[in-house]
């Protein structure tokens, strides 16, 4: 796999960002992290991801605001997978038209399976 899929992880909990980034890097993904929606949008500008893992509750710009701002941008949009500790993860995912969700606390294998399913880069 010469062309690694790019995964952007957005979560306000630094410990979660750390281990998710490590686990994905171990699998050969290219990973960047952001602690809020604003930072995530800035990263996307210069580094368009293939998949976004998005926490919903964050300061500064939360998951809902990020999803809205991202959708309003022109150009190709990476699919979003919601990472949440809320009870209604599926409903939240539908709300922002995410392609899937991973409910916290999750097993790394489950996370990797979802990422693998949704991070196929379109043929160039």
């Amino acid at each position: 796999m010469t062309d690694k899929a790019r995964i952007l992880v957005v979560d306000d909990d630094p410990a979660i960002l750390d281990f998710v980034a490590l686990a994905l890097t171990d699998e050969g993904y290219e990973v960047k992290t952001a602690a809020d929606g604003h930072t995530a949008l800035e990263i996307i500008d210069r580094w368009p991801p293939d998949l976004i893992l998005l926490d919903m509750r964050m300061p500064i710009m939360d998951g809902w605001e990020f999803a809205k701002a991202y959708a309003e941008r022109p150009g190709r949009h990476a699919p979003i997978v919601v990472l949440t500790a809320a009870q209604d993860a599926a409903a939240l995912a539908r709300e922002i038209q995410a392609v899937g969700y991973v409910a916290k606390p999750f097993a790394i294998d489950d996370l990797l399976a979802v990422v693998d399913r949704h991070s196929q880069r379109p043929p160039a």
Partner: protein, 530 residues
């Protein structure tokens, strides 16, 4: 005989009549009289009778004349014989009234009533020649009279009933003229009259009652008279030294009078108000219970969410290290150490959340006990400041405090409260900056600890909820934690007999001030271990 009939002025007026014509008049009257008339001679033989008599006696006229009177007049033989005897003896007429009689051959006529007059027929020399018998049926008159008497009796009974009702009713009764004049009144058992009764009579309600009420009475009176319907009016009036509520019912009486029945309904009104109050209280209690249920559900959702976050990284790091070990990726033992340190921190965080939940539970059950002792408050504050400063490089914490300051507190609980305040100051100043902590002594018995940040502050609309459960400033609970810190802090400080207040300085940020009594205080709801 004809000449003996009294035709003197005043009884009748007959002039210029020849004796023959006089006789004809008499004969005509005799024949056509509505009264039954018979002439009976001294031997009690009927000598003459008219058609009316014959009809009433149920005999053809020819059969009557010449027969003995007692065979013709068969009703009440003894009494008739007595009357005939008395007339003959006294030479005076005898009248008898309204004798009942039932015709044996005409039972359908029912009881008939008869009036009769028996007069003597006297010769010019005064000698007795016979009797003139005149009778008239008065059944209808008697029936009408009986009916009238019956109605009168009924009316009297009704009046007596009404009188008894009025006497027994607690109502005050007025009879009113159309202009409001009080024509009559009855007070029944009512003792709470607005004025003595003698001041009511023949005065108009507008004059007797206070003006606005008098006007309302007049309007109600006019309405009941024009609509011919009962009109009800409810009004308050200060009577017998207290505020009372009355109900007046107006009803038309005849064409231009009305009655008003006035009842004291104060007790009923009070009962209604009491029932309303109870209903409201019950509704309120139900709303509180429902809110408590909602709040509990919300609490569980938030608690679950907050607990899951540290568990996620705990589990994630543990799994990650295991995977890396299995894949032979671990080259540096420091890497394992960092992961274990993260796991340790997350476990601490988890324990802190669980402790907060337990604190809440104990507070709710009233079982949270303070372990108070004389302790150095400055020492506690210093420790908190040092701990928080160690976790941030972007914020500068400054402490202004005397060297030491003793107070009777639970040191662990106070540290918990102050840590939460200082940690909040950092958390809500994401851009970094100064945080000032002041310990002072406003008076010898009071300690004051103020924590001032220059961060985001609290939006004005959210300030009233600041010390409630689950409160987190900003939209969608940006900061981590259960939102229980200030709530717990306030409760713990209250147990010490102190207060926490929040101030929002003009130039932004927040200032939280804890005020504590230094000695064991007459605490508000404060409980403390000995």
């Amino acid at each position: 005989m004809v000449q003996r009939t009294d035709l003197s002025p005043g009884r009748a007026e007959i002039r210029d009549l020849s004796p023959d014509m006089g006789l004809d008049v008499l004969a005509s009257w005799f024949a056509s009289s509505p009264d039954g008339i018979a002439v009976i001679d001294a031997d009690r033989i009927v000598r003459a009778a008219n058609q009316t008599f014959a009809r009433e006696m149920h005999h053809p006229l020819p059969e009557i004349v010449g027969r003995p009177a007692d065979q013709v007049i068969v009703a009440w033989p003894e009494r008739m014989a007595d009357i005939f005897r008395r007339v003959r003896e006294t030479g005076q007429p005898v009248s008898g009234g309204a004798y009942p009689f039932v015709f044996r051959d005409q039972p359908q006529r029912g009881t008939t009533c008869w009036e009769s007059t028996v007069s003597p027929i006297l010769a010019p020399d005064g000698s007795f020649r016979g009797w003139l018998f005149v009778q008239r049926e008065v059944t209808e008159r008697e029936q009408a009279e009986a009916e009238r008497n019956r109605l009168l009796a009924q009316l009297e009974r009704r009046a007596a009933e009404a009188e008894a009702v009025f006497r027994a009713l607690p109502d005050i009764f007025f009879r009113l003229a159309a202009d409001g004049t009080i024509l009559d009144y009855r007070a029944g058992t009512a003792t709470d009259l607005y004025l003595p009764p003698e001041q009511f009579l023949n005065r108009r309600m507008q004059e007797v009652l206070p003006p606005p009420l008098g006007d309302r009475f007049v309007r109600a009176l006019q309405q009941t008279l024009s609509e011919r319907a009962v009109v009800t009016l409810e009004y308050p009036l200060h009577v017998a030294g207290r505020d009372q509520v009355y109900e007046a019912r107006f009803a038309p009486l005849g064409k231009d009078e009305a009655i008003a029945l006035i009842r004291n309904i104060t007790e009923r009104k009070q009962a209604e108000a009491e029932r309303e109050r109870l209903l409201k209280a019950e509704r309120h209690a139900r709303e509180l219970a429902e809110a408590a249920l909602r709040s509990r559900d919300e609490f569980l959702a938030i608690a679950a969410h907050e607990l899951k976050t540290p568990i996620t990284s705990l589990r994630g790091y543990a799994e990650l290290i295991i995977r890396r070990m299995e894949q032979g990726r671990i080259s540096d033992p420091l890497e394992v150490r960092r992961a274990l340190e993260t796991i340790d921190r997350q476990a601490d965080r988890l324990a802190g959340l669980v402790n907060q939940l337990l604190d809440i539970s104990q507070l709710d059950q009233g079982t949270l006990r303070l372990n108070r002792q004389m302790a150095d408050v400055v020492d506690i504050v210093r420790r908190v400041v040092a701990t928080v400063q160690a976790g941030t490089t972007r914020h500068t914490l400054t402490l202004h405090a005397p060297a030491s300051l003793s107070a009777y507190v639970d040191p662990a609980r106070l540290e918990q409260v102050l840590y939460n305040l200082v940690d909040n100051a950092i958390r809500y100043s994401p851009q970094g900056g100064p945080v000032e902590i002041d310990v002072s002594l406003p008076d010898q018995n009071t300690v004051r600890i103020a924590v001032r940040d220059h961060g985001a502050g609290i939006p004005p609309e959210q300030r009233p909820q600041l010390f409630t459960r689950f409160f987190k400033a900003g939209v969608r609970r940006p900061a981590g934690g259960l939102g229980l810190g200030l709530y717990l802090g306030q409760r713990i400080v209250a147990l010490h007999g102190g207060t926490i207040t929040a101030e929002f300085p003009e130039d932004g940020g927040s200032r939280f001030v804890v005020t504590l009594p230094r000695a064991l205080a007459q605490a508000s709801g404060g409980e403390s271990a000995p």
